[in-house]
């Protein structure tokens, strides 16, 4: 009798537990999937996520603070200085070395290097992982404009000075005093000679 009771309760258990389980899976079946179609749509990335860096090149002053802070020395940067303006040669991060520690971000005096949200980096070639963070090479367009303006202003100043000097010379000549024909040549404008380089 006891065995029969166990038998019947086994059958009932099997049916009931299967029904309960199938109810649960049915609920999941009708629920909206929680996954997203990855490359087309992405889950939101947290604000403080440490992904691929981005650089505000305009603000950067090539001080090398980030490169020095990097524990694995994966940042390489180089720029030529023309007075106040920078002519960029290189700013690369080797993501084979980078460990996304964010230590490069804190020492930046201009707050110009940041961690981005991109995390999926795929390539068939190791060289592709040396990312170039420069958005332009050489000088920025407005930097060039600024430099040209500064040059023009300087030249105008020179010309004015020259004209004044010439007027003075004439007056001096009129006074009959023998003087050197030209004033001493001013030093070349900063960067003017190197601009072609």
């Amino acid at each position: 009798m006891k065995a029969l009771g166990r038998y019947v309760s086994n059958v009932v258990d099997a049916v009931v537990t299967t029904a309960v389980g199938m109810r649960i899976t049915a609920r999941y079946l009708l629920q909206k999937p929680i996954t997203v179609q990855y490359p087309d749509e992405r889950l939101p990335v947290p604000d403080r996520f440490r992904g691929v860096h981005y650089l505000e090149q305009e603000k950067c002053i090539n001080c090398l603070a980030c490169a020095r802070a990097c524990p694995v020395a994966c940042i390489e940067m180089d720029a030529v200085r023309h007075g106040k303006e920078l002519e960029w040669v290189k700013f690369t991060i080797d993501y084979q070395k980078c460990m996304f520690c964010e230590l490069c971000v804190y020492p930046c005096p201009k707050d110009c290097i940041h961690m981005g949200t991109e995390f999926a980096m795929v390539s068939e070639d190791r060289r592709d992982f040396v990312y170039d963070l420069l958005s332009y090479r050489g000088m920025a367009r407005d930097a060039k404009v600024r430099m040209a303006e500064a040059e023009k202003a300087k030249q105008a100043k020179e010309a004015a000075k020259k004209a004044k000097a010439a007027a003075g010379d004439k007056a001096a000549a009129a006074a009959g005093a023998a003087k050197p024909e030209k004033p001493p040549k001013p030093p070349p404008a900063a960067g003017a000679g190197e601009e072609e380089a």
Partner: protein, 385 residues
């Protein structure tokens, strides 16, 4: 069988020569062919056309089945399943098929080459044979077999021999274990499967699938056998459990337990031969679900079929199409149920499978037969006066 066709000389000759087991294509063809073709040519052509249709059905069912399986499993796990190839991944099975076609066909050294090659063909061939009993529509079928359900159960049991051949000839311990389990499982579950089917068979009084479904016709489905007496629902549950085991579906997928036996009897197979086993599994699922639909859930009967028969006349093209669609829908509802069970329940141990088959399903199905018989003889008679 096709009442809406006017009799033609060849059709009449074929109907006369084909004694009992008739083929709908053989009856249709003389009408479509020009002139009066010889009877043997009609037969050969009808056979070829029927085989082509059967192959197409098996292939399409397998394609759609794999897609449905991946979608159902995905959504049960809160995923999407395939989404990339075509709209919601509907071309994914085609892509898989192309991949399987292009794969290298490996035959392991040390295997019994002849058996290894024959096994998948035998498995799929037996399923094609069983497919001949699939009633596509009341007026369109491959063969009007009077012992239809008997034939289906017999032919699908023969596929087990192919599985055992595959397991033995692979010369791999995993394959052999898988095959042994398949043999044990099928032997254990054929019995409750047959006995559970006896319950509707007793009521129907026929082995012919078309005839059985014609006895359940009606608008609302109150004549379906599942509502006929209180022992039908348990009988259906037993039948369904048994076909899960017969078609090697989880929780009874012991022959191919990927966590213990890699892929069971299919371990050493690759490419198209492997695809044959896969097609067999899905087509067998579909066929058994059709059997379940016919014997428990009214077969062709549905409001749609009823309306088509009322409006366009019984046996017309519209009626046949509605009936075919109804049965297809019911079949795939069953397939969906099997998938739902698969992604719900964990796999049982082999001793639990045996216990369930021998100690629970067999005696319970016998009880159902007894109860249904008593009900039909005593209670139903009293009720009807």
């Amino acid at each position: 069988m096709i009442a809406y066709l006017a009799p033609l000389p060849a059709a009449a000759a074929i109907a006369a020569s084909a004694d009992g087991g008739m083929n709908a294509v053989a009856e249709l063809l003389p009408r479509l062919l020009p002139g009066d073709p010889p009877v043997w040519a009609v037969f050969v052509l009808a056979a070829l056309v029927s085989v082509a249709i059967a192959v197409a059905i098996v292939a399409l069912v397998a394609l759609f089945g794999t897609w449905l399986e991946r979608k159902v499993s995905g959504h049960i796990q809160c995923r999407f399943g395939p989404m990339r190839v075509g709209w919601h991944g509907w071309l994914q099975p085609v892509a898989d098929g192309v991949k399987l076609l292009l794969k290298e066909d490996l035959i392991p050294t040390g295997s019994d080459r002849v058996l290894f090659v024959i096994a998948p063909a035998l498995v799929l061939g037996c399923l094609f044979a069983a497919m001949t009993a699939y009633p596509i529509a009341p007026g369109f079928f491959f063969a009007d077999i009077e012992l239809g359900i008997f034939f289906i159960v017999a032919m699908t049991s023969v596929t087990t021999i192919g599985v055992i051949m595959a397991g033995w000839s692979s010369n791999s311990k995993w394959s052999l274990y898988g095959a042994m389990r398949e043999a044990a499982q099928v032997v254990a579950y054929e019995v409750p499967l047959g006995i559970a089917l006896l319950v509707p068979l007793m009521v129907a009084g026929s082995f012919d699938l078309i005839e059985v479904s014609q006895r359940q016709e009606g608008l609302l489905g109150l004549d379906w056998f599942i509502f006929r007496n209180p022992f039908m629902l348990p009988a259906f549950v037993l039948f369904f459990t048994a076909i899960l085991a017969e078609t090697k579906r989880a929780p009874f997928d012991l022959p191919e337990t990927e966590s213990e036996l890699v892929a069971g009897f299919m371990t050493e197979y690759s490419g198209l031969r492997w695809a044959f086993f896969f097609m067999e599994e899905y087509a067998a699922m579909f066929l058994y679900c059709i059997v379940g639909a016919v014997f428990f859930f009214g077969g062709f009967a549905s409001p749609l079929t009823w309306a088509a028969a009322e409006v366009f006349g019984t046996g017309g093209i519209v009626h046949n199409l509605a009936a075919a669609g109804t049965l297809l829908l019911k079949g795939f509802a069953g397939v969906f149920l099997m998938m739902w069970v698969r992604w719900t329940l964990p796999r049982v141990r082999i001793d639990q499978v045996m216990t369930m088959g021998y100690k629970y399903l067999t005696p319970l199905s016998l009880l159902c037969v007894l109860g249904a018989g008593v009900w039909e003889v005593v209670v139903a008679d009293l009720w009807r006066g």
